[in-house]
């Protein structure tokens, strides 16, 4: 037992730990980033899981048929955006309840991705290449971590920085936050609430699609139905955990990556802990995190956008 603990301790301070965490966190980070923007505009899209699995299926289909990871990623992005367009048509166009529409999108996406991906089960591609710079990648320790990742990882970081800049340093970002905090006032000031929300939802869908495409294109080089395994839902929970702030999303996503690492390494050590318990860890952690964050926030500083999830119909 003690030896095993020492073994785990050694692993935690290893390069492979950090590499595993980064890989496991990237899809959560990308999907969470998109959902954060949508929620900041006041739209709660619970269809992330459905958009992600569609991104995974279409991303793999695109990459396998074209032989190009880039085309695969583009297919994933388009699939996610297309799904979010259905969601937008319902919730923004027809004022449908957002929770119900998001659930419908997840059920629909799960089914359709199975249909699309059916012909590709068992097929393999060569995964997205990792960056390989002359000197830098070879640096001991940090080289691989900073200069040896695939494009998805760098994209996820760029995405977060970009979103932070957009939300807090541009006028458009301010308008988007205003729409999410009080749609009636924003509308009265002359902003096109529904149009801004449409763009935010489409962006969220594109991100979810990209996050889904990451799974078969970089994480495992093949597609299996249902391979997102609840990551879309965890991404939604991460946005709550992050109090709707992009910076905190990074911390949350990497925390979940660490849970995944723990799960994998404990399974590898074989301590006699049931594998099902270890597999349940990310979901248990999500509940624990939601409880902790929600209770700590108390009544004073509710961080959620005030109009989140509310239907808006322009008044004439």
């Amino acid at each position: 037992m003690v030896e095993s603990l020492i073994e785990i301790g050694k692993l935690i301070f290893s390069v492979s730990f950090i590499l595993t965490v980064i890989t496991a966190s990237t899809p959560l980070l990308i999907a969470g980033a998109g959902e954060l923007v949508a929620e900041r505009s006041g739209v709660l899209n619970l269809g992330v899981e459905g958009m992600m699995i569609m991104g995974a299926a279409c991303g793999f289909a695109g990459a396998y048929t074209s032989g190009s990871i880039v085309i695969g990623a583009v297919c994933g992005v388009l699939a996610g955006a297309a799904c979010s367009a259905i969601f937008a048509a319902l919730t923004l166009g027809l004022a449908v309840n957002q929770v119900a529409a998001g659930l419908a999108l997840t059920i629909f996406g799960t089914g359709l991705s199975g249909l699309i991906g059916r012909g590709f089960v068992g097929a393999r591609i060569s995964p997205a290449p990792k960056l390989d710079l002359p000197v830098l990648t070879g640096l001991p320790g940090i080289g691989q971590i900073f200069f040896g990742q695939d494009a998805f990882v760098y994209a996820s970081i760029a995405l977060i920085v970009g979103i932070w800049y957009f939300l807090y340093r541009t006028r458009a970002g301010l308008v988007l936050r205003a729409v999410g905090d009080n749609h009636a006032s924003a509308y009265a000031l002359g902003y096109r609430v529904l149009r801004i929300r449409l763009l935010a939802v489409l962006f969220g869908g594109a991100c979810a699609g990209l996050a889904g495409a990451f799974l078969p294109l970089a994480y495992t080089p093949f597609f299996i139905p249902g391979m997102t395994a609840g990551r879309g839902w965890i991404a939604v929970a991460l946005v709550v955990f992050a109090s709707w702030k992009p910076g905190r999303l990074v911390g949350g996503a990497y925390l979940f990556g660490a849970v995944t690492f723990l799960q994998l390494s404990v399974q590898a050590l074989g301590l006699g802990i049931p594998p099902q318990l270890m597999s349940s860890l990310p979901y248990l952690a999500t509940i624990a995190v939601l409880v902790l964050i929600s209770s700590k926030r108390g009544t004073a500083g509710l961080a959620a956008p005030a109009s989140l999830g509310l239907v808006f119909v322009p008044d004439r």
Binding site: L46, G50, I86, L90, G93, L94, A95, V96, N97, V99, A100, A101, L103, A104, L105, I107, F108, G109, T110, G111, L112, G114, L115, R118, G190, P225, A229, G230, W233, V236, A237, V240, P274, Q276, L277, S279, S280, Y283, L284, T286, I287, L290, V291, L292, I293, S294, S295, R297, V313, P314, R316
Partner: protein, 363 residues
């Protein structure tokens, strides 16, 4: 030109009846288009999917077998959704109910115990489902954690928990290493109602649930509180209702019904506990609840229709080699249309001319 929504002065009763029918018609049309895209004859495919199961008595029995869990779970979920409380983890409560009830069946397996076993199993199933549903309810009222996410996470956990039991402690020692418990004893099995079919006594329980649900929602103070909390939460609070109490109540009811449906499914058509015994009844029941307009009698009809999609899907896979995933796509599309058509009950869609419309809309 611009489409705008206009709130109707009062909810149209006509639209309330017609909208689910329009939704089903639109879904069938979309399905026909999908069949055509897959190179099948749309008309014959629709026939295989939706009419063939209705033509022989065995399939009709299967319709009842599959509708039973959908109706029971769907009615429980209606309680939650009417009150604007979002239990989407019914699948987990269904599994835990199955596990809780199976505990007794596994413990008493092979011993000569009395006929009390089955009623106690059903009770344990309902209790297990209710307790499991109380986890998200308590997380919500005590800590303010979103019940949507916690209830869904518990589905994955329930799945792994059940998987552990049937692969580990509860595995049938004579089962050739298959991950399943031993077949339940006759006293631990729900009796068959119609000889020659799989229709079991659970169908009667589902009908009782429909009746009780309709009375509870329509004729009691509790039902009124649930409806008021959903329609006007502020008014409900001012009139002194305790929203927390309703969260507990609706979660407990929906969890108990899902758990009861779970143990009935395992002790009835399945006959033992095994992984993946549910084709996602807990999620399809969400669609049944909305298609039935959150009304117990409506959910009964919706449950039968959704059961048809399961059987039709299996039929179409065998007869014309259509993939099973098509059923899920159809169910998702159906929910899209149901929600969209529901919107037409509350709103009227009007077409405005561009120039005039824009001024009007922003004026």
């Amino acid at each position: 030109m611009q489409l705008v929504l206009e709130k109707r002065p009062e909810r149209s009763a006509f639209a309330a009846v017609v909208s689910p029918l329009i939704a089903i018609s639109l879904s069938l049309m979309s399905m026909a288009a999908m069949f055509a895209a897959m190179g099948k004859n749309p008309i014959t495919s629709l026939g295989v999917y939706f009419l063939d199961p209705l033509t022989d008595s065995y399939s009709l029995g299967e319709l009842v077998v599959k509708a039973t869990p959908l109706v029971m779970i769907g009615i429980g979920l209606s309680f939650c959704y009417i009150a604007n409380i979002w239990n989407i983890g019914a699948e987990g409560q269904f599994l835990i109910g199955a596990v809780a009830g199976s505990w007794l069946a596994v413990r008493t397996n092979g011993t000569s115990v009395g006929p009390w076993v089955l009623p106690v199993m059903l009770f344990l199933g309902a209790l297990g489902g209710a307790l499991y549903a109380l986890i998200p309810a308590l997380c919500k009222i005590r800590f303010g954690a979103s019940e949507i996410l916690t209830s869904l996470m518990l589905v994955y956990i329930a799945n792994y928990g059940m998987d552990y039991l049937v692969r580990g402690p509860w595995r049938d020692p004579h089962g050739l290493n298959f991950p399943t418990t031993a077949d339940f004893d006759p006293v631990a099995t729900v009796p068959i109602l119609v000889p020659g079919s799989r229709v079991h006594a659970g169908a009667l329980i589902a009908l009782v649930v429909v009746g009780l649900g309709a009375v509870l929602l329509g004729r009691t103070i509790m039902g009124f509180e649930i409806r008021l909390l959903g329609a006007a939460p502020r008014a409900a609070r001012f009139s002194g209702f305790d929203p927390d109490k309703l969260v507990i109540f609706t979660f407990a009811v929906s969890g108990a019904l899902a758990g009861l449906a779970g143990i009935i499914e395992v002790a009835g058509p399945v006959g033992h506990l095994q992984p993946d015994f549910s084709p996602g009844y807990g999620f399809t029941a969400i669609i049944a609840a909305f298609l039935g307009r959150l009304n117990p009698v409506g959910v009964l009809i919706a449950g039968l229709f959704l059961a048809l999609t399961f059987i039709g899907g299996e039929n179409a896979e065998i007869a014309i080699k259509l993939p099973l995933d098509l059923t899920k796509v159809f169910q998702g599309v159906l929910l899209f249309y149901v929600l969209a058509c529901d919107s037409l009950i509350a709103y009227r869609v009007r077409l405005l001319r561009t120039q005039h419309g824009r001024e009007f809309a922003h004026g």
